[in-house]
Amino acid sequence: MSQFIYLYRTSDAAQQESMGTPERAQQNMQRWMAWLKELDAKGHLKNYGQPLERTGRVIRGKNKLITDGPYAEAKDLIGGFSIVEARDIDQAVELSRGCPALDVGGAVEVRPVMSMDL
């Protein structure tokens, strides 16, 4: 089994879509929790991961220029991540298909965690 990280990507528009009304927001969240719980039950969830604040600081270059951000990429923010275990990337991708973010215009980026094994 290999480890993969799911980066939950979202945009302001996707956020609006998933919020809609209080009822929709609640349903959306319940779908998320059900999805993660199912991954966990099947033994694929290595770590629930963490939600991330939408904004922070970005430090760039030799001058260590500090800016608030990442505003420039407001259309594509990382909202959080989880770590899953899967046979290979195909299975990791397959498992991500149930992610509720996809129904509201969001995206899941699946990246293999590099391992020390050769």
């Binding site: 956020q15 919020m19 009304t21 209080p22 927001a25 609640q26 969240m29 998320w32 993660l36 909202g79």
Partner: protein
């Protein structure tokens, strides 16, 4: 931990009320933004970390924090609630005022004032209930539209117009205002309408209908928690809602079709709601005036206490309808009375009572007017007349649910008037 059903919707109404107290009703949109932010945050965090032990308290803390930020950032540029201005200006008093606004007693009072404000006489009733559902119950325009079978655009227009009226009023209605009595009557009328939308809802989705009824009962119960609004008429309204809602589970049969009172499986009536309704009706009886709500609740109570149509005290029901007619003359009430007369004195008496309805032309588009005639014709054995009446009723059906029900009655009348030829022995 699992979320209780509709938690966000319910919290939305409470949080908006608390924030409106701080920001002022002219900043209703700002209050709604802050609540939306709190939900966004909850969505981000809870979906990965799970629901906290006390989700309501969590949401409230986030909303409070945002409220403090907003006031600090904008207090020079924006006017907030005029009566709180001095407290919001000073850092000494700002946090305590925000805390106070989120206590349950204050939230309840603010929700009441909001409910009264939504029932402003300049707004048509359907706008009042759309506004109540949106602001106090957290329904989105699309959800209101689904419940009322109208377009989302129409509902949005109603809500926008209503919010403009709220903002222009500059402050929420106060229960000590001069026109309190009149406004309380409008609030009751709006809640009654909201309940009936759910109860008779054209929407065939049982869930939507039950939700509207639940919301109407919840808001009416809020009126009962405050002395000024807990009048006998309010108790009677609450009683009426509970007694009717108790029958809701039996209004649709196993096939999802409408089931009329005589055919309902009474074991599916909600006993707990009936008991609650009867207790409320008892409390409603302390005044000297019997309102229309009292009489309607009393009629519902007679039905609720009867094990079957045959054992129902139709004398009592006809008498209650007589009193109701005197109080609020309406052709629909007269029609219901005629049906009760038919139960008491037979179909001919019922048909005579229907013919005697003075303003029957106002029932021209009401499918249950010809349907009632059809039932009585059928009962007195004139199946051909019954079929004609049911055919007219089918033509007036306002939704698929009514159409299926009336078509079924039409088929019954047709097979009775032209019995199928007997097959070979």
């Amino acid at each position: 931990m699992d979320l209780s059903e509709h938690l966000f919707r319910r919290e939305s109404g409470r949080l908006v009320a608390a924030l409106v107290r701080i920001f002022g009703v002219h900043n209703l949109a700002l209050a709604e933004d802050v609540v939306q932010d709190a939900f966004c945050r909850a969505l981000d965090v809870w979906k990965i970390r799970g629901v906290p032990d006390n989700p309501s308290a969590w949401l409230m803390t986030v909303a409070k924090r945002r409220a403090l930020d907003v006031v600090r950032r904008e207090r020079t540029a924006r006017t907030f609630a005029p009566e709180l201005t001095r407290w919001l200006e000073s850092e000494w008093t700002l946090a305590p005022v925000v805390d106070e606004s989120f206590t349950s007693a204050v939230i309840r009072d603010e929700q009441l004032r909001m409910m009264f404000s939504c029932c402003h006489p300049s707004l048509p009733e359907e706008a009042q209930i759309a506004l109540i559902l949106n602001v106090l119950c957290g329904f989105g325009a699309s959800e209101v539209a689904t419940a009322f079978l109208t377009s989302r655009a129409a509902v949005e227009k109603r809500i926008t117009r209503g919010k403009k009226a709220l903002a222009n009023a500059e402050r929420l209605f106060d229960l000590s205002d001069d026109d309190f009595g009149a406004r309380l009557a409008s609030v009751r009328a709006a809640l009654y309408l909201l309940f009936n939308e759910g109860y008779h809802s054209a929407s065939s989705e049982t869930a939507v209908r039950a939700e509207l009824c639940d919301e109407a009962i919840r808001l009416t119960s809020m009126l009962l928690e405050t002395e000024a609004t807990a009048e006998p008429a309010t108790f009677a309204l609450a009683a009426l809602m509970c007694l009717h809602a108790a029958r809701l589970p039996a209004r649709l049969d196993a096939h999802g079709d409408l089931s009329s009172l005589p055919d309902q499986d009474r074991s599916r009536w909600n006993r707990a709601l009936i008991d609650r309704g009867l207790a409320l009706l008892e409390q409603a009886s302390c005044g000297s005036v019997a309102t229309a709500y009292h009489l309607e609740a009393a009629i519902a109570a007679v039905h609720a206490g009867s094990p079957s149509i045959a054992s129902t005290n139709w004398d009592a029901i006809v008498e209650l309808y007589d009193r109701l007619l005197k109080l609020t003359p309406s052709p629909v009430v007269a029609l219901n009375r005629a049906v009760a007369v038919a139960q008491r004195d037979g179909p001919d008496a019922g048909l005579a009572a229907i013919r005697a309805i003075p303003d029957a032309d106002r029932l021209r588009d009401y499918p249950f007017y010809p349907a009632a005639i059809g039932e009585l014709e059928l009962r007195r054995g004139d199946a051909a007349s019954a079929a004609r009446a049911f055919a007219a009723a089918v033509g007036l059906a306002r939704n698929p649910l009514e159409r299926r029900f009336l078509e079924r009655r039409l088929r019954t009348a047709e097979t009775t008037s032209h019995p199928a030829p007997a097959g070979p022995a």
